[in-house]
C-alpha cells in the first residue's frame, strides 16, 4: 500500500484529502504542524509527503529544507494558497517534486 503523509493544519482540508486518497486505495496519516511533519517524514515509512506551506510550528519551506538536508529523497508535493512565481520557484528549487495551488481539482490527483 502506498503510504501518504499529509501535513496540513486546516482540519477540513485534511478531511477531504484523506477521504479522497483512501477511496483510491492509499493509506494516509495527517499531522497539523511543521515540527511533527519533519519528525514523521524521518521516522515514518512514507512514500509521499503532501506539504502545506503555511504550517504552524515550522513552516512548510523549512520542513522541506529539513527533509532534503537529511538527504531524504521522499517525494514531496507542496500545497499552498500562495501562488506567487517566487514561491513556486523557491519550492521547486528547495527540492519539492510538484506544486499544487489551492483551491485545486482533486480529480487530477490520484
Amino acid at each position: 500500500v502506498t503510504r501518504i503523509l499529509i501535513a496540513e493544519d486546516e482540519e477540513r482540508i485534511v478531511a477531504f484529502l484523506e477521504k479522497g486518497l483512501r477511496a483510491n486505495g492509499y493509506a494516509t496519516t495527517a499531522v497539523g504542524n511543521g515540527i511533527e511533519a519533519a519528525g514523521m517524514a524521518r521516522d515514518g515509512d512514507f512514500d509521499l509527503l503532501v506539504l502545506d506551506l503555511g504550517l504552524p510550528g515550522m513552516d512548510g519551506a523549512n520542513v522541506l529544507r529539513t527533509v532534503r538536508s537529511r538527504g531524504d529523497r521522499l517525494p514531496i508535493i507542496i500545497l499552498t494558497a500562495r501562488d506567487g512565481v517566487a514561491d513556486t520557484v523557491a519550492g521547486l528549487e528547495g527540492g519539492a517534486d510538484d506544486y499544487v495551488t489551492k483551491p485545486f481539482r482533486f480529480a487530477g490527483w490520484s
Binding site: E10, R12, I13, A15, F16, G20, A81, R82, R105, F106
Partner: protein, 327 residues
C-alpha cells in the same frame, strides 16, 4: 523792435540768436539719455529674468519630478537640493510620498491576505463537493452538506466584515449619542460572558457621559474580548474596563494570556493587520476582528493601542475623545 531816438532818428533794433547749436546739444543729450534708459531697462529686465529663473528653477525641477511620479512608482523620491524653502517643500513632499507608498502597500497586502483567506473555504467546499458521492451513506452526505453550509456562512461573515471596514470610512458610519460610560462598561459583562469559560471581571470608570456610538463600541469591545478568549486557557482572568484621562476615554480589555512578541505587535498594529489564527467553527474567527476595532477607533477620531508582554498577557485599548464630532 522799432527804436526812436531823442533827436527823431528812427531805427530798428534787431536781435538775432543762433539756437540751432544748443538745440542740437539738447537733442543729443536727450538721445543719449533715452538710449541709456533703454539699455538700462533691457539690462534690468534681463537680470531680473535671470535671477527669477534661477530662483524658480528648483520649483520647475520639483514640478517636473512630481509630475513624473505616478501611482505605480510611489517608491520614487524627489532629489533634495540646498537648504532653502524649496528644499523644505521637497522634503515635505517626499515624506507625503512615503506615507502614500506605505498606505498603498498595506492596501495591497490587505487584498493579498483577503484573497488567501477566501481560498481556504473555497478549497474546503470544492474538495468536499468533489468527493460527494451519489452512492454515499445519507448521513455522510448530510455531514458534507452541513460542513459546506458552515464554510459558506464563514465566507459570508468574512465578506460582511470586509464591507464593514470599507464603510467605516464613510461619514454616516457612526451614530453618536450621549453615553454613560460606567453603565456602558457594566452592560458589557452580559455580552462577553457567553464568549467563553473565563474569569470575567469588569472595572467601570467613575460616572462620565461621553458622546459616542454605543453599538460600534460594543462591537469593538466584544471583538477584543473574543481575541482575549482565543489567547487564554479556560478559567483565565479577562478584565474589561474604562478610564477617563486627559480628555479621552480609554476602553480596554486585559488578558493574562500568551502575550504578543514585539515583532508581531508591529504587524498587528498595521492598519489592516490580520491574525494568523483561523478558528474552525468559531463564532467570529474571520481574522478581521482587530482591523474592525481599529476602524471603529478611527471613525471615533481615536486610535487603538496595545501593551503586551510575552508570557504575561496583553491589554488592548481603544482611546477615543470624550465627544466624537460627526464628520
Amino acid at each position: 523792435v522799432p527804436v526812436t531816438g531823442p533827436n527823431g532818428a528812427a531805427g530798428v533794433f534787431v536781435a538775432a540768436h543762433h539756437s540751432a547749436e544748443q538745440l542740437r546739444q539738447i537733442e543729443g543729450a536727450i538721445q543719449v539719455m533715452v538710449a541709456l534708459s533703454i539699455v538700462a531697462f533691457l539690462l534690468a529686465t534681463f537680470l531680473a529674468w535671470g535671477v527669477a529663473g534661477r530662483a524658480i528653477a528648483p520649483l520647475r525641477e520639483l514640478t517636473t519630478a512630481a509630475r513624473g511620479i505616478g501611482e505605480r512608482d510611489l517608491a520614487a523620491r524627489i532629489p533634495v537640493a540646498g537648504t532653502d524653502e524649496v528644499a523644505e517643500l521637497t522634503r515635505t513632499l517626499n515624506s507625503m510620498l512615503a506615507r502614500l507608498e506605505a498606505a498603498f502597500g498595506s492596501q495591497r497586502d490587505f487584498l493579498n491576505d483577503v484573497g488567501h483567506e477566501l481560498r481556504t473555504p473555497i478549497t474546503i467546499i470544492r474538495g468536499h463537493l468533489e468527493l460527494l458521492d451519489a452512492d454515499e451513506d445519507p448521513s455522510e452526505r448530510q455531514k458534507t452538506m452541513a460542513l459546506v453550509l458552515d464554510e459558506l456562512d464563514r465566507m459570508g461573515r468574512y465578506v460582511s466584515d470586509l464591507l464593514l471596514i470599507a464603510r467605516a470610512e464613510q461619514p454616516d458610519f457612526l451614530r453618536p449619542a450621549p453615553l454613560e460610560l460606567a453603565e456602558f462598561v457594566n452592560g458589557l459583562a452580559t455580552r462577553v460572558r457567553p464568549l467563553g469559560d473565563r474569569t470575567w471581571s469588569v472595572v467601570p470608570p467613575r460616572p462620565t457621559v461621553i458622546v459616542a456610538d454605543a453599538d460600534r463600541l460594543t462591537q469593538a469591545m466584544v471583538n477584543l474580548a473574543v481575541n482575549a478568549v482565543r489567547h487564554t486557557p479556560p478559567g483565565a482572568v479577562i478584565e474589561l474596563g474604562a478610564t477617563v484621562e486627559h480628555g479621552h476615554a480609554r476602553l480596554w480589555v486585559r488578558d493574562e494570556g500568551t502575550g504578543i512578541a514585539p515583532a508581531d505587535q508591529e504587524r498587528i498594529f498595521g492598519r489592516f493587520a490580520r491574525g494568523r489564527d483561523r478558528v474552525t467553527g468559531g463564532s467570529d474567527g474571520t481574522g478581521l476582528g482587530l482591523a474592525i476595532v481599529d476602524a471603529i477607533a478611527m471613525a471615533h477620531d481615536g486610535y487603538m493601542s496595545l501593551d503586551s508582554e510575552v508570557g504575561r498577557g496583553s491589554t488592548f485599548s481603544l482611546v477615543i475623545p470624550l465627544e466624537v464630532v460627526p464628520s
